[in-house]
Symmetry: C2
Subunit: 344 residues, 2 copies
DNA sequence: TGTTAGCACTCGTTAATCAAGAGTGCTAAT
DNA sequence: ATTAGCACTCTTGATTAACGAGTGCTAACA
């Protein structure tokens, strides 16, 4: 167990290093006026802290820098909630007060504000559409051979796909198909849709429509949409401000990672609904090896869920980031849920 | 007017500098076996070319580098079409041969392949939806107070928006509205839609529906969608490979520019349908001050149009880029138009 | 026994110096 | 008109030296 004095020193090291990005030396620590012991004592303690793995030197005679273990300890034991400034509260309100009509707009704006306030990069994962339920099928013919198939969900989400119609498919056939689909599939979640189509609905279609088979293939395509929610980025270029990203290769690795949707999604951990901090290699992801990712989930209504992530250097202001993320999370949940209840 | 010898020298300077990113010296030029005169002669000619503004020195005793004027002259007078390798042709075919069903997928894939082949960044601007014509209106009620309004165009494009319904709006009202809208607006282009609604349709609605006014406001929102086509990027991080982008600030400026949709769109020049090259400051855009942008338009069917841009350093392989862009442009036009004619 | 002052030592950073190499411009010879 | 020769310029990379920040250790101190 760490002594009280060691805790104090570790805290100063993390705080100072977070603020300055410079290794922290014993003299610098001793200057804090609530630190009552001398640099020499601090050096001894730091030596111990280093042995315990909480801090490291960048070279033999440098000041100390928190290790991953040090950050981990810090966020687990030393982190206290921060307060927000007037200005910050105002900015949050600006998105959570009514006037933004569209849900998507609120989410987009949230990502921007959160990245502005933290100076880190933020990613919002929109609600997964898998749980949405089919409200209505619609097929709108375009030409003799083509039509647009549309699925509207109970949440107001719309999926659409252009499909080809079989030779000789006439309006009454379309009518029939629409009726069958709406009869059979209303209320089915998008996740179940594919299975339900294959196991039940296609058979019914075959019974009623001569040319069902070639049509079924088209329908398959519309049931196979992206399952994951949409990604919204804020402050993609914020990382350029961080001194640790003055290295071209790091910037590059990060940018490339952000271009790959699947990799970005793997940063989220939706199993866990609380606020979750992954430090450096805890992310199991080379490109974010010296980055920390803080995630949280927000909810819309009772069964839609999305996630928020703040990505910053491991030398990140965890206190501030966690506070802002938490406010954003609850604000978003409240605002978007309200929109749903108001029926928007 | 430039002498033949000067033309030869300018060509070598551009070609060599494009290939190596190093200033080109007189000795290096004289080594080309089709160059028959000595380094000293070349030095004299270079001195003249410099005076004329086609090339510049990076410092007093360095080799020469093409100036913007030099590049301009090069692309205007010295550029010849290049041939493509087997591999390149194959890659193009892989996207233009059938199997990619969705137009959007073809476009997305095109951006990627073009950026892979050029090693530059490419941007595809999807067709502007303004010319699409309304095929069908649809309103799907979600709750008592909300519904999804959907517009399907003759091209299969779908716009949708969640709207609020007035108190006491019943299914027969919705039916009536749908009929009125479809009667009045079928065939109207999306560009005209807003005006048409305001000037004619709203009045008709008011005559038939008691609570039309509060409903009209909702309809306004759906008619006000993005007018510009969607942007698809390829190889956003390719610029990291270019030696001129080893400078953090340049990378940063470029990345930030690409995050701003309006700035990206301003790089296109859709007035002109040919292939268009803007070199460095010709772009009138600080962030791309030492970049060149090559644009072209492709067409889908008879009145949809989109644009393609290749963005690279001014020291860019114009010959190759122009060739690839041209092939891509015609291939895309052909492929997407075919999809339209096939009714897809 | 825990704390602290003092000091030698290490290492990174910066600036200064130097040599090598590439390229030019000019002059004089062809 | 062309070219060989040469002095001069400027960049690049390596080497060196001075400086400063910080440590670890020892010995003195409370």
């Amino acid at each position: 167990m760490l002594t009280n004095r060691q805790l104090q020193i570790l805290q100063v090291i993390v705080d100072d290093f977070v603020a300055s990005a410079q290794p922290v030396g014993s003299r610098q620590i001793s200057k804090k006026d609530w630190i009552t012991f001398s640099p020499a004592t601090i050096r001894n303690e730091m030596s111990d802290l280093e042995e315990l793995g909480f801090i490291e030197k960048t070279h033999t005679s440098s000041g100390r820098v928190p290790s991953e273990k040090g950050y981990r300890f810090y966020v687990d034991h030393l982190l206290q909630p921060a307060s927000m400034s007037e200005r910050e509260i105002g900015l949050f309100q600006s998105i959570f007060q009514n006037h933004l009509a569209e849900k998507e707009q609120v989410i987009r704006e949230s990502a921007n504000i959160l990245s502005d306030l933290t100076t880190y990069t933020t990613i919002l994962l929109g609600p997964n559409v898998g749980k949405h339920r089919v409200k209505r099928f619609q097929i709108v013919p375009l030409t003799d051979q083509t039509a647009v198939a549309i699925i509207v969900t109970d949440t107001g989400h719309v999926e659409n796909r252009t499909i080809t119609l079989p030779q000789g498919f006439n309006p009454s056939d379309i009518e029939k198909v629409i009726n069958i689909l709406n009869d059979r599939l209303a209320g089915v979640s998008l996740l179940e849709l594919q299975r339900k189509l294959e196991l039940e609905t296609f058979n019914v279609l075959r019974q009623h429509i001569k040319t069902a088979d070639s049509f079924i293939q088209s329908l398959r395509t519309i049931a196979s949409f992206e399952n994951e929610g949409k990604l919204y980025f804020g402050g993609k270029t914020n990382m350029f401000n961080q001194p640790e990203f003055h290295d071209l290769n790091k910037v590059r690795a990060l940018m490339e990672m952000m271009e790959r949707e699947s990799q970005v999604i793997s940063l989220f951990h939706p199993e866990d609904t609380g606020i979750h901090i992954r430090i450096g290699s805890e992310n199991n992801h080379l490109a974010v090896d010296d980055l920390s990712v803080i995630t949280a989930t927000y909810s819309i209504g009772k069964d839609q869920e999305g996630s928020i992530a703040i990505i910053g250097p491991t030398r990140m202001d965890y206190q501030r980031a966690v506070t802002l993320l938490d406010v954003m999370r609850s604000g978003l949940s409240r605002t978007l849920s309200k929109k749903v209840n108001d029926g928007l």
